[in-house]
């Protein structure tokens, strides 16, 4: 856990956007706030952060943190999550069993996270400030673990006191460290020791249950006994709660999770007072659920997360033509319905035009794609389609175009907000909430900016070809290939589905024509019963034509568009891989540069030119720093990309399943109707005499 706190700083380094920095400040404030109160008294506030943190690492991937501080550690933690099987991790877990205090000082524990020792060095101060509470939390977390055995799961205040008492003691330890850190940044590695242990201890509890001290086991068993049924929901809700969903559930677990979800510290404190008595228990539950998570396989973890629903419904409706002629544009109503506290109200509506959506994408992609995030791409601009809409009056094809775009925009926004990190982006919030948006300029088709972008893309493509990255990571090696193949096959499938749509439309048309023809035949028939039956058949065929038509539009909207979306999304995934490759290239370049500098130094030494030597040494130091920085950046982006891709895969499987089920349901519905129509016709056919 502490590991995560330690790692929290790195995400903020140099390259961060101003917005991010702002955010991190907020976060820091939040934390300092808590830490102050923490020093005064072991007030519940202090218990809050731990929950956040504890809650996140395991569940992280989807339910993202609300403040940047939280989110960043999470990333770091994630890097470790996938590798619990690595030897280091195993060491980690087995070690702590012997003795906690030993573990704290044990070097092995620190090994697994060497980078974490380095990171703080460059961390901005605010982050450093932000850390201590986290440490404390971690420490407290540990306490909680020891605690629950004493009390029941139902938080009694006595338990709470005990907890806080212990916490307090711990906190003091930490405080020292805390005081130190700002001054001697290089000393930081040390403080990181204990928290790491805490973290590992938490994990080890779960991993080696039987051997662990009775207490934790008790805790788990007790929990299992008291709330066996509640557990799964609780844990899943806890992850959803982090998104700020509140509901008036009465059980203690959910109450706990409600706490967790609070994003603004102010709110937090208020709430906390209200729910004071139940605090320790929730913490315990959180701790247990979080500690349980690492023991699970990644897949299980994913399963669990896939259950969370978060309460944010976005719909794009009422496309409306604004203006006339070539300056006309379509405006859409973007309605949001949410209980997330990060928004000012529960429901709100804004009007946005297509270029606003593109603008949002531009902003998001500028900020996030370089960090390895998969930023969902918006639907493509269609000059032809839009021109038709602008010029044409009530043409069915332009109506279809508008509906298609509306649906695509809706899916686009839903994908954006379902990404935990993007949801946090102020631009997203602004897009959803703010009445008037500054006009997005760079989206003009082939405007100057567009041209530049194209140029960039071209150079990117060239550099992509020239960068020959020898992939060290087997996972990435395979994944990149997989994504490439998948995209190709997806395109093929898309073509097939498009052809299905066309053929179904054709079928519908041909059925209509046949219906007319049969009706004519019926009118010519001189046998009255047969004539009647034929005109009934014509009617049936007419209805079937409608059915085919509806099905064709279902083919298109639920199936074909889904594939089109995923082809675009796979493009975005590939973009992530490219970003990672770029980071790698930067690192390698720095490495080469460092090599050159070193050679230069050696030459100087040999030539015995002491006057220039110092400068060379400085340069080496500078480049060494850069190398470490770039390497870390590469690792970070690798971790993020990996996490993102896993998340993407999971979302994709879920999304695909949902859409396919929906599509099959539409087919089912068609067949049901078909049965109805034919069954109604059967007596008519039998009545022919």
């Amino acid at each position: 856990m502490a590991a995560s706190s330690e790692r929290s700083p790195p995400p903020f380094p140099d390259s961060e956007e101003p917005e991010l920095l702002e955010d991190s400040d907020e976060g820091a404030d939040a934390f300092t706030g808590t830490s102050i109160s923490e020093m005064d008294s072991p007030s519940p506030d202090s218990t809050r952060p731990p929950k956040d943190i504890f809650n996140e690492p395991p569940e992280d991937i989807f339910s993202d943190p609300l403040s940047n501080i939280n989110s960043e550690p999470q990333k770091k933690v994630d890097t470790k999550i996938p590798s619990p099987s690595s030897d280091e991790a195993v060491d980690l877990f087995s070690e702590p069993l012997d003795d906690d205090s030993e573990v704290m000082s044990s070097p092995e524990v620190q090994n697994p996270m060497p980078d974490l020792l380095n990171e703080p060095v460059e961390a901005p101060k605010s982050d450093v400030l932000g850390e201590p509470p986290v440490h404390k939390n971690a420490a407290r977390q540990q306490d909680f673990f020891e605690d629950p055995p004493k009390g029941s799961n139902n938080s009694s205040s006595s338990v709470k006191k005990a907890v806080s008492a212990e916490l307090f003691g711990d906190d003091e330890d930490e405080e020292d460290l805390f005081k130190e850190t700002p001054k001697v940044v290089t000393k930081k590695p040390q403080p990181s020791g204990p928290p790491v242990d805490v973290f590992t201890e938490v994990k080890s509890d779960v991993k080696v249950k039987p051997q662990v001290k009775d207490d934790p086991t008790d805790l788990f068993t007790e929990e299992a006994l008291t709330a066996p049924a509640q557990k799964p929901p609780a844990s899943s809700s806890s992850s959803s709660r982090t998104n700020g969903v509140h509901s008036e559930e009465q059980d203690l677990f959910s109450e706990a999770t409600v706490e967790l979800s609070l994003d603004s510290p102010l709110n937090d404190r208020k709430k906390k007072d209200a729910v004071k008595p139940s605090l320790s228990a929730p913490a315990a539950s959180v701790a247990s659920s979080s500690s349980k998570a690492p023991s699970k396989t990644l897949e299980e973890l994913e399963e669990e997360e896939s259950e969370d629903k978060f309460d944010l419904n976005i719909s794009v409706t009422n496309p409306e033509k604004v203006g006339d002629g070539m300056n006309a544009y379509m405006a859409y109503k973007v309605s949001t319905q949410t209980s997330l506290t990060m928004f000012r109200s529960k429901t709100f509506t804004v009007r946005r035009r297509f270029s606003d959506f593109l603008g949002l994408y531009e902003k998001l992609s500028e900020k996030h794609s370089q960090n390895g995030y998969i930023v969902p791409p918006p639907p493509e601009k269609s000059i032809l389609g839009m021109t038709k809409v602008k010029v044409g009056k009530e043409d069915p094809s332009s109506a279809e175009f508008v509906e298609r775009r509306r649906a695509a925009l809706e899916r686009y926004l839903q994908r954006v907000v379902s990404h935990p990190s993007l949801l946090q982006d102020p631009d997203v919030r602004e897009f959803l909430e703010k009445e008037e948006l500054p006009r997005a300029v760079s989206t003009q088709a082939l405007s100057g900016a567009g041209f530049l972008k194209m140029l960039n893309k071209a150079t990117d493509a060239v550099s992509k070809m020239t960068i020959k990255m020898n992939e060290q990571d087997v996972w990435f090696d395979e994944k990149i290939q997989d994504v490439e193949n998948e995209e190709q096959h997806m395109r093929k499938l898309h073509v097939m589905v498009e052809s299905l749509v066309n053929h179904r439309k054709e079928l519908s048309g041909n059925t209509a024509v046949f219906a007319k023809s049969v009706a004519m035949l019926g009118s010519s028939e001189d046998n009255t019963a047969l004539s009647r039956a034929l005109s009934q058949l014509a009617e049936v065929e007419d209805r079937i034509e409608q059915l085919h038509q509806e099905q064709a539009s279902n083919d298109f909207f639920t199936f074909s568009e889904l594939l089109a979306d995923y082809i675009r999304l796979l493009g975005a995934v590939k973009g992530c891989f490219d970003q990672r490759m770029k980071a790698w290239q930067r690192w390698q370049d720095a490495e080469n540069m460092l090599q050159k500098k070193r050679e230069a130094e050696a030459k100087l030494l040999w030539a015995n030119k002491p006057d220039k030597l110092q400068q060379a040494k400085d340069e080496i130091a500078e480049w060494e720093a850069k190398v470490t920085q770039y390497e870390r950046e590469f690792e970070r982006i690798s971790a993020t990309v990996r996490k993102e891709v896993i998340r993407f895969d999971k979302e994709k499987a879920r999304d695909f399943k949902r859409q396919i089920v929906k599509y099959l349901e539409s087919l089912l519905n068609s067949q049901q109707q078909l049965i109805k129509y034919w069954e109604a016709f059967l007596p008519e056919a039998k009545a022919i005499a």
Partner: protein, 399 residues
């Protein structure tokens, strides 16, 4: 080379027309057929109690050309002018499957094993469908003849049925082919010419109007039904391709996605089969019915033409008689001619009336039967699709 035994599918085979074998004294069916290159050899099985046949049960091999010969000789028989002559079966058309076979051969190297196997299967199914249809339409032709009181006694028909060697009828040479074409032209022109002849019989007047109208309508409906059926086939093909494409995505995947994809591919594969059935049953029950009656109505129209021709002849003979009387010579010959024409016309009118009435009844019964069968099949397929979809949705939802 495909040989099909039709025994198991007798029900289906006799779908176009009403059961014509209601008379047990002469039962004809085609239990087997052999396709060699562009020749199709049918095995015709005859069971009879009629004394005119030497044996009571026997089989003979016949080719499509033999059927055409039989049809032509019947058409040319003056005696049958007052009858609706059962339309000749169309030439077996294996172009579709053959073309596909060609493609299959070409694409063999570029396809995966599964794709190849699947396509081969598809091809076989299509081939079988065409084959069945061909056999059926030939069988129906013979059954129509055998169930007709006049045709069943026809000499050529008996030869066709009984001669136990290959008939090896002489193929039409180019001159005859052209002659046939020319005859058709003359007939069409003649039809226009005699259309001016005033109709004396209300029944035939109406029948003529009806058949002309009906003929164009049913032709149109047939073309539209063919298109519709083809669209169904296209949709089925798309399902097939979708299934294949999904499988190839699934092949490279190992997440939960894979399971879903594989399931979907399976669903689409099954949907394809169902959609294919819908298409082929629609083809067999609806399109084929319309097609057959397009031809049958043409046969009925031919009867009307022959009668109208006879009427025109009679009127001409009347004129000739009047002229002869005016001139006072060749009266007896003209009278004889006029009488003959009248007799012929009356005979044609009488049998034509009967034929057309029974044709109407036959048509209604055939439509009824086919429409019911088609509807039942549509319902059956839709129900199968429904349960398939329901099951798949449940499976998808459960994992």
């Amino acid at each position: 080379m495909t040989s099909i035994s039709e025994d198991s599918d007798k029900e289906k085979v006799r779908s176009v027309s009403v059961d014509l074998n209601n008379d047990a004294s002469l039962v004809i069916d085609i239990p087997d057929a052999l396709c060699e290159r562009d020749k199709v050899k049918f095995t015709i099985h005859i069971k009879t109690t009629l004394s005119s046949f030497q044996k009571s049960e026997f089989s003979v091999p016949r080719q499509h050309e033999d059927f055409i010969w039989l049809h032509d000789t019947i058409v040319e028989t003056e005696e049958y002018a007052g009858l609706i002559i059962p339309p000749a079966p169309p030439k077996p058309d294996f172009e579709g499957p053959r073309e596909k076979m060609h493609k299959l051969g070409e694409g063999e190297s570029s396809m995966t094993k599964e794709e190849y196997a699947k396509m081969k299967q598809e091809l076989e199914a299509e081939y079988l469908a065409v084959f069945k249809k061909t056999v059926q339409v030939h069988e129906v032709f013979l059954q129509r003849l055998s169930s007709h009181p006049m045709f069943r006694k026809d000499r050529n028909f008996q030869i066709f049925l009984e001669y136990d060697q290959d008939l090896t009828v002489r193929r039409k040479n180019a001159k005859e082919m052209f002659g046939g074409f020319f005859k058709n032209m003359v007939k069409s022109a003649d039809e226009v010419l005699i259309s001016g002849v005033k109709e004396v019989d209300e029944f035939f007047e109406q029948e003529k109007i009806f058949l002309l109208d009906y003929s164009s309508k049913i032709k149109d409906a047939t073309a539209k039904a063919e298109k519709m059926t083809r669209s169904h086939k296209n949709v089925a093909d798309d399902y097939n391709h979708i299934s294949g494409a999904m499988n190839s995505i699934a092949a490279d995947n190992n997440t939960a996605f894979k399971k879903h994809l594989e399931k979907c591919a399976e669903v689409f594969e099954k949907l394809r089969k169902l959609e294919d059935r819908v298409a082929s049953d629609q083809e067999l029950k609806l399109t084929e019915l319309l097609r057959y009656y397009t031809r049958d109505i043409q046969a009925a129209k031919d009867l009307l033409y022959r009668r109208a021709r006879a009427l025109a002849d009679y009127e001409n003979s009347n004129k000739t008689l009047d002229k002869a009387r005016l001139k006072g010579k060749d009266i007896a010959q003209a009278e004889e001619n006029q009488k003959q024409c009248l007799r012929k016309f009356d005979k044609l009118s009488e049998s034509g009336k009967k034929e057309l009435t029974s044709f109407k009844a036959r048509r209604v019964v055939a439509f009824r039967k086919n429409l019911i069968e088609m509807t039942e099949l549509e319902i059956k397929h839709a129900k199968n699709s429904m349960s398939l979809l329901q099951g798949s949705i449940e499976i998808l939802n459960s994992n």
